[in-house]
């Protein structure tokens, strides 16, 4: 067990927890947070990969992920606000009009 292995397994674990959270929680806000968490996990795996292959591409990609996440979070929160304004609830199960 050494440093890179640790990073890989840690990152994987965080991603799995993030996904579990996304599916298990009913609150829209918590889903967003868990999604953030899994993204962090992905970044960790990216950095571990860049260390493993001794180049910087992984790190750069994770840096760009920071930017993208920021942009995405802005829009996500905005949509969340609109939803709340319209239906006064954050429970995901209520937003299911797009059914077959």
């Amino acid at each position: 067990m050494n440093q890179v292995e640790l990073l890989f397994y840690g990152g994987l674990l965080i991603v799995i927890i993030g996904l579990l959270g996304v599916i298990s929680r009913k609150n829209l806000l918590s889903i967003l947070m868990f999604q953030e968490l899994s993204l962090n996990g992905v970044n960790l795996v990216l950095v571990a990969g860049s260390i493993l292959h001794h180049n910087y591409h992984g790190a750069i990609l994770s840096f760009i992920t920071f930017i993208v996440t920021a942009a995405e979070m802005a829009i996500a929160i905005l949509i969340l606000l609109l939803l709340i304004k319209k239906r006064k609830t954050l429970d995901v199960t209520f937003y299911s009009e797009l059914k077959g």
């Binding site: 996904l19 996304v22 599916i23 889903i31 995901v92 199960t93 937003y95 299911s96 009009e97 797009l98 059914k99 077959g100």
Partner: protein, 607 residues
């Protein structure tokens, strides 16, 4: 040789003229055209046969030629077909003249004559055919003409349906005829009469093929000549005008079956298994026809059933191999049956359409000429000595008697009984119609034109003359058909004696019955042995019910349509199931994605 086609096509020209422009011409010219063309072809025929040796085959064109079978449209004139064409044209022309007056005043006069000429054309085609196919074309054409003529007064539905019945029963026979042609075409690679006859008598012809083809051709003959199983159409064919019954259902069309068998008699000589069948069916039909005729009240139906029984006689003769007596009986029967029908027509015409013999009476004085003709005709039919009927019937009875088969004795007895019955019902009819009786109607009679009584008398004389001046002997060597039976010497005296006593006894009973007005009608005879019932109620209705209920509903709708609609339902059902998958929950979709991902990973890494 091409004059032969001229003779054939004259009636066709008559048919076309009357058919297309008949309605424009008035009655007189239609009648003229109608009678002119058959007389013309009769005259041409007599002139040609008298002047030059006219016999032989003349081919118009090859109808079709495959590599192992060529069929050409050819006519052939030899003694047999000359005799038959004389009957057809002779009696045909007389009946044409007769019907000019009989149909006087009928508004579709031209149509009647065009149909009659069409019938003559097809009958001549049948008679003069050189191969089975041309005969079959004539065969079907004659059936078609009889369908048109039976259903001539198509206003009443009943006439049209009896016409259709005649055509359908003929068609059943024709399917048999076709099968016979195919078997012959397959086996002998030809369907010309003389080639078949020659090939049949050679050794290499297989017995089963000959028997099969003979059987099927006999079924065709049964259909056309109204033998036992397929005889139901002839009595119903009486709904047509009486001259039609005289021409078609007495003299010419119904004899086509016998003519065909006589034309192929070498083949039938070899078909040892089929001959007994023909004899048995012939006798049974004769017996049945005579029995039912005794109880008929309609004069035309009596004559129709008597035709059925006389045809039975001819087939019995064919069955025992007596081809010449059958032809002779056919020849004489054509004349005296035509006389009977025409005089019956005159009677009906006179009594304004009354056909029930029990309502007629005392016509002897009012219609003397008719009475004489009817008397002569019924004498021939009854087989009174010195008449032509007697000679031909005796010839048949002697041949059946001296036929060397175990059953031929029983056949002769049955035929003798039929002869007695024939004498009974024809004399009963004669006495009922002509002897003075109280239930005769007093209405003034419709005047009988000379043109109607002339043919009647001419035919009466002919039917007597044919029997006398040893014409039968001259005809025997003229036709020189194959003879296979030597008459036993005791037959010469036994048969005439027996038949004479029986017919005399029957005439006596008939006289007694008419005088005492006894009218006993046994149920089974009255129902005509339930044959009509069998065809109408049993066969046709079950066929219709089967098609309607089983095929139309169950098969068509329940099985095939249901199968197709069920495919549609299957698609609908499965699509409804799939839509349940998308239930709008985001987490369900994430789960689906993850499941897919896991499956993908498993497949990637481990499969």
């Amino acid at each position: 040789m091409s004059e032969l086609f001229l003779i054939l096509f004259f009636p066709l020209v008559g048919f076309l003229i009357n058919g297309l422009w008949g309605s424009r011409l008035q009655e007189k010219s239609c009648a003229l055209i109608g009678c002119a063309f058959p007389l013309l072809s009769l005259f041409l025929l007599t002139y040609k046969t008298a002047v030059s040796d006219f016999y032989g085959v003349s081919i118009l064109f090859t109808w079709v030629s495959f590599e192992n079978l060529t069929i050409d449209f050819a006519l052939k004139l030899d003694h047999l077909s000359l005799l038959m064409s004389f009957i057809v044209l002779g009696i045909g022309s007389l009946i044409h003249i007769y019907s000019t007056k009989y149909m006087h005043g009928d508004q579709s006069f031209a149509r009647y004559f065009s149909y009659l000429n069409l019938f003559l054309f097809f009958m001549l085609l049948l008679v003069l055919a050189n191969n089975l196919l041309v005969m079959f074309i004539g065969w079907e054409g004659v059936g078609l003409a009889s369908y048109l003529l039976i259903g001539f007064w198509y206003k009443e539905n009943e006439n049209a349906s009896s016409g259709a019945k005649a055509f359908i029963v003929n068609r059943i026979g024709d399917i048999g005829f076709l099968l016979g042609i195919f078997i012959l075409a397959f086996h002998f690679q030809t369907i010309n009469f003389d080639e078949i006859n020659r090939a049949a008598s050679t050794a290499n012809a297989s017995a089963t093929m000959i028997n099969l083809s003979a059987l099927f051709l006999f079924i065709g003959a049964c259909g056309k000549s109204a033998q036992l199983p397929l005889h139901v159409w002839l009595p119903d064919a009486m709904t047509g005008p009486t001259p039609v019954s005289a021409l078609i259902h007495a003299a010419t069309m119904v004899t086509a079956g016998i003519y065909m068998i006589v034309r192929l008699h070498p083949l039938y000589m070899q078909a040892t298994a089929v001959l007994p069948l023909i004899a048995v069916i012939g006798t049974l039909t004769a017996l049945l026809g005579a029995l039912v005729a005794t109880v008929q009240s309609d004069i035309k139906r009596v004559l129709a059933y008597s035709t059925v029984s006389q045809l039975g006689y001819m087939f019995a003769a064919l069955g025992v191999g007596a081809f010449y007596p059958a032809m002779l009986h056919l020849f004489t029967h054509a004349f005296f049956k035509a006389t009977l029908f025409l005089s019956a027509g005159a009677i009906i015409h006179a009594l304004h359409g009354e056909q029930d013999i029990y309502k007629m009476g005392g016509l002897a004085k009012k219609m003397p000429w008719n009475m004489v003709a009817f008397l002569l005709g019924s004498l021939c039919l009854a087989g009174v000595p010195l008449t032509s009927g007697f000679i031909s019937k005796e010839a048949i009875l002697m041949h059946t008697y001296s036929h060397s088969h175990s059953y031929s004795q029983t056949l002769t007895i049955l035929l003798l009984i039929t002869a007695a019955l024939t004498a009974f019902y024809i004399s009963k009819t004669f006495f009922l119609v002509f002897l003075p009786s109280k239930n005769g109607s007093e209405k003034p009679l419709h005047a009988i034109a000379f043109a109607m009584s002339l043919p009647v008398i001419a035919l009466a004389i002919l039917s007597i003359v044919v029997g006398l001046f040893h014409i039968p002997a001259f005809m025997e060597n003229y036709l020189n058909l194959a003879k296979s039976i030597t008459i036993k010497e005791e037959a010469h005296i036994l048969i005439p004696a027996l038949s004479l006593s029986l017919s005399a006894f029957a005439i006596a009973i008939a006289y007694l019955i008419t005088v005492k007005q006894i009218k006993i009608v046994p149920k089974i005879l009255e129902q005509k042995f339930y044959f009509d019932h069998l065809y109408e109620k049993v066969l046709l209705s079950t066929l219709r019910a089967f098609c309607k209920r089983v095929l139309a509903t169950i098969f068509e709708v329940k099985i095939i349509e249901a199968a197709i609609w069920s495919m549609r339902d299957l698609v609908l059902f499965s699509s409804r199931r799939v839509t349940l998958l998308t239930n709008g929950q985001i987490q369900w979709y994430v789960l689906l994605i993850l499941m897919a991902l896991s499956l993908l990973m498993v497949w990637w890494f481990y499969v």
